[in-house]
Subunit: 136 residues, 2 copies
Amino acid sequence: MKIYFAGSIRGGRDDAALYAEIIKLLANYGEVLTEHIGLKDLSSLGEERTPQDIYERDMDWLLGADVLVAEVTTTSLGVGYEIGEAVAVGKRIMCLYREQEGKKLSAMIDGNPELKVVRYEEVKELKNVFDSFFNK
Amino acid sequence: MKIYFAGSIRGGRDDAALYAEIIKLLANYGEVLTEHIGLKDLSSLGEERTPQDIYERDMDWLLGADVLVAEVTTTSLGVGYEIGEAVAVGKRIMCLYREQEGKKLSAMIDGNPELKVVRYEEVKELKNVFDSFFNK
């Protein structure tokens, strides 16, 4: 089971520690291709590679993955892009969202029948969610 | 010529007035399907429709459009999603971006050979850009 985990980098790193926790949990279900998303040293300026290198590597990973798990609370253009590409090729997709006061999740995600949106508050709630999603 | 213009709604409305200016300019080249993106009364809570209604209408418009013009400076999950879907179906795409100090455009957009990224500072620079893009 190859898992592509998507979280915000250049959109902001407020949730970096949370991404690391989710990645750790996901590693129980398969190989997480994008472990760097949780690194605390990765700033919102992103990796020191050319944008072309990052795009090509990430698209290879995404298209080769069995599932996409996206944390969508911190708004990110790249995460949105990846979800759009993944829907178009028929990947299984789960989006994780923490409700924020005065904010609403994008209708392109929230109203989308091609993906599953899970609302949660703490990472510990996700074990049962992942057990069910990965049929474990 | 049907033009789908994409800009941030639930990601934040800081650029709403700018979107209205761009939509006005784009109307010289074809029918802009998404004029509501520029409305100053449209808040970051979005339209008063169900997310499902918004998703279905916007995807119909996007798939029926000849081109996608996306303003990507204000980070938006929905705009990223729309670009991902549009790339997957081979639409012509132009992304408009204003450089921001201490920020970087997503590598999924900046490093993407399937779309054209135009960096600009003021809307008046876009007339020549659009003339060339729309072959006018």
